[in-house]
């Protein structure tokens, strides 16, 4: 009875249904996810290593200037559209704000089905966005802003099951794309600003039964538990709101974690493990195999959630089985994946950073300038801003150019004043006045010169190979391809851009309907390559725009409303 009444209130809404032959869908296996076919984009970053790379090369540096619109689809939703068009042999799956999944014919743009999940009326949606589906077997999986994990039949959009992952009333919500591996669907949770206790949880792909759950914030008595005072771990943040990566050889999944909660470190004396870290978990059991905390006792809202990148790089003549991350803390981190731990290799700032006075060459532990470290009742100016050198927005790695591409915000600083805060379930738990957060940005002459950057780094030498500058912000996730290209949007002029991956020359740009904060993807059907991205400005890009508007002499209005854009080359002849 309970189940049916829940279904009445929250059940699926099938808005359109077109029947595909049951045999038409190509089941997604572990083997396919581990070595994806070039023509497909089967998961959030295209591969388990988190690269945002496709070997497809029909669209390349020579012909990209001719790139044209193949089709467009309006999602019918406002707010931040961040999810990649995920493609499996001609079928495209896209999520949008509004807890919506859309399936389309990737070649023609014809809608096959559309699913919307009804959320509770009382839900507060701080980040009404979604970063995509996971494909596994014959199902499509996505998380919702009321913290549910839902499995749909890929061919029909019919709901197979849904499970509550955590309690939305206590501030848990899901915006990430689930990660599928070894018969499991892995998710984490957002809600650091609401005082959640972060976790990674795995669910059986066929039944939805929970297999394991590992908290990112240890309890007293557990390893790392002594890095928190008393019971503060229960609301210690460390949320996990961007998908992890997976190393099938070692059966280890790597996840980035958010900042410790609340924001001011004097409220939680200690290192606050495993917030602001990367953690390595055993895929079968969820057991913590290793971690590296990028920076302890966070004071700046510097979540380190973006997908840890598995990249083997050269360092002093050795090949290192690496883990790479362009941090919100403004440092580029080069780590090493070891069987039972994560090692520190090197780091350096990729944007203006005035907080770290040094980084220990052995452990990678930073030392802070106390005058740049906010606290309760203390006002502090620091760089980079609270959105960091790079927020959630994914980097990309190209194994042909051997360059790492970083969508950065440089030169930007913040001013924050910590204030007392008390915990109440489901309410904000920050410790900085909202009026302060809304106007936190500080811009000097350097920032007025430019903020947004697309950077290319040679990891073996530590050299910045090229940099493209945007006048204002960059919130554009990156894609790189075998055609020597880098694609990304992110600017407040609504444009989607293509760069020469070797030189950084901008080869093409296109004004879309809104600002592009979506993850781009690429795929091939019938010998033609396509590049796809969602346009739809909102959430943190709009928040940063509001903060810019508060300090700049001009205001910029970026129109909202989401659309999926798909581009290809014109037919020859």
């Amino acid at each position: 009875m309970k189940k049916s009444s829940k279904h009445l209130a929250f059940g699926a809404s099938m808005l359109a249904l077109s029947i595909l032959p049951a045999t038409a869908y190509d089941s997604v296996t572990d083997a396919r996810l581990a070595s994806p076919e070039p023509q497909n984009w089967l998961q959030f970053r295209g591969n388990y290593a988190g690269w945002g790379y496709s070997p497809l090369a029909r669209i390349n540096a020579k012909n990209v200037s001719k790139l044209s619109v193949a089709w467009v689809y309006s999602t019918g939703q406002l707010e931040g559209h961040q999810s990649p068009p995920i493609v499996n042999n001609g079928l495209m799956f896209v999520t949008s704000p509004g807890n919506q999944v859309i399936a389309l014919d990737a070649k023609t743009g014809a809608e096959l089905w559309r699913y919307q999940h009804q959320v509770p009326e009382e839900l507060m949606q701080l980040h009404p966005t979604n970063r995509g589906v996971a494909l596994y077997g014959d199902k499509v999986y996505f998380g919702t802003t009321d913290a549910k994990l839902i499995a749909l039949d890929a061919a029909t959009g019919k709901e197979a099951w849904q499970v509550p992952v955590a309690d939305w009333k206590s501030g848990y919500y899901i915006t990430l794309a689930p990660l599928a591996a070894e018969g499991k669907i892995l998710v984490g949770s957002s809600g650091g600003e609401l005082g959640v206790r972060g976790f990674v949880a795995a669910f059986d792909a066929s039944t939805g039964k929970e297999a394991w759950r590992t908290f990112t914030i240890p309890a007293p008595g557990e390893p790392g538990g002594d890095s928190w005072p008393a019971d503060s771990y229960q609301r210690g943040g460390g949320s996990t709101w961007v998908s992890g990566s997976y190393d099938p050889k070692t059966r280890t999944t790597y996840w980035g974690t958010g900042n410790a909660a609340p924001w001011m470190p004097d409220t939680r004396p200690g290192d606050n493990l495993y917030a602001n870290s990367v953690i390595a978990l055993d895929i079968e059991t969820g057991k913590l195999k290793g971690f590296h905390q990028y920076h302890q006792a966070d004071a700046w809202d510097w979540d380190e959630v973006s997908t840890p990148m598995l990249i083997d790089y050269q360092r002093e003549g050795k090949t290192i089985s690496g883990l790479v991350h362009a941090g919100r803390d403004g440092y580029l981190w080069l780590l090493e994946r070891k069987p039972e731990s994560i090692g520190y290799v090197a780091s350096w700032p990729f944007v203006r950073q005035d907080v770290f006075t040094s980084v220990d060459p052995k452990s990678g532990r930073p030392t802070y300038d106390p005058s740049k470290t906010p606290g309760t009742g203390k006002t502090v100016h620091f760089c980079p801003s609270l959105w960091g050198g790079k927020d959630w927005v994914p980097e990309a790695y190209n194994p042909q150019t051997k360059l790492l591409y970083v969508p950065a915000n440089n030169n930007l600083c913040s001013e924050l004043t910590g204030e007392k805060v008390s915990y109440k379930a489901g309410k904000l738990y920050i410790g900085v006045a909202l009026s302060n957060i809304l106007t936190n940005v500080r811009m000097d002459d350097k920032a007025l010169d430019h903020v947004g950057e697309v950077q290319a780094w040679d990891l073996s030498t530590g050299k910045q190979v090229w940099t493209h500058k945007y006048k204002e912000m960059n919130w554009g996730p990156l894609l790189t391809t075998g055609g020597d290209l880098v694609f990304g949007g992110g600017t407040n002029d609504r444009k989607f851009h293509a760069f020469n991956a070797k030189t950084g020359d901008m080869l093409w740009d296109f004004p879309t309907n809104s600002g592009v904060t979506g993850v781009p993807s690429t795929f091939e059907i019938d010998g033609e390559q396509y590049v796809a991205v969602q346009s739809g400005w909102g959430v943190d890009a709009q928040r940063m725009q509001g903060a810019f508007d508060a300090v700049l002499p001009h205001k910029t209005v970026v129109p909202q409303g989401g659309a999926i854009w798909v581009f290809k080359l014109p037919k020859q002849g």
Partner: protein, 199 residues
């Protein structure tokens, strides 16, 4: 397991079924099943004429807000309605959160003044965009501001959208005063709460 907003709480969301909802709560309260109940001094029915207001973070026996508690130019004051007859706070639904802002009554038109209690206006404290708590104030334009996605609402124009993504005005709640106590004079102009997911 308590599912978020299962059918019974869904039925509590409209004013029309509020009495039924209250009765249901009493019944479940008696059987110890949890949920909003008289026993806990909380209910979910929408605010109604004659209700008084209490500061949102206050505990214990509610103390009715006075006109003097709301200062001109301050950021929105968060409150919940309560029934003065039995002191029961209507905070079982977060959609009953109310915000109060004040203007100098000498600068208000007769129409504006009539919606206020001596220059104090009441609105839903939940943004009609995505359901965030509305807490902030744009002092320059004297607009109510939602920090969440930067929607702004005009308190002197019945909560009309001034800027941002909100699809409709912030519901207004008419006020009057009795012996300098703030008293609710009617119902919300429209149902409070964020946009429905399925639209």
């Amino acid at each position: 397991m308590r599912t978020p907003g299962g059918r019974s709480s869904g039925e509590c969301l409209t004013r029309r079924t509020a009495l039924h909802c209250l009765a249901l709560s009493m019944a479940t309260g008696m059987f110890g099943e949890g949920g909003p109940a008289f026993a806990t001094g909380v209910d979910s029915a929408r605010p109604r004429e004659g209700d008084r207001l209490v500061a949102e973070d206050s505990e214990g026996k509610p103390k009715a807000l006075q006109l003097l508690d709301i200062k001109i130019g301050d950021k929105p004051f968060g409150a919940f309605p309560f029934n003065p007859a039995d002191g029961i706070k209507r905070e079982g639904s977060r959609l009953n959160r109310i915000i109060l802002v004040r203007f100098d009554s000498s600068e208000l038109t007769p129409d504006q003044l009539a919606r206020s209690a001596d220059g104090v206006f009441a609105f839903s404290g939940v943004c009609p965009h995505r359901g965030c708590d509305v807490t902030e104030w744009n002092d320059k334009d004297r607009m109510i501001l939602c920090y969440c996605h930067l929607s702004q609402f005009d308190p002197r124009n019945q909560g009309a959208v001034f800027a941002g993504p909100a699809p409709r005005p912030l519901p207004i709640l008419p006020l009057k005063s009795e012996q300098s106590e703030i008293v609710i004079a009617g119902e919300f102009s429209s149902e409070p709460g964020g946009a429905k997911a399925i639209d």
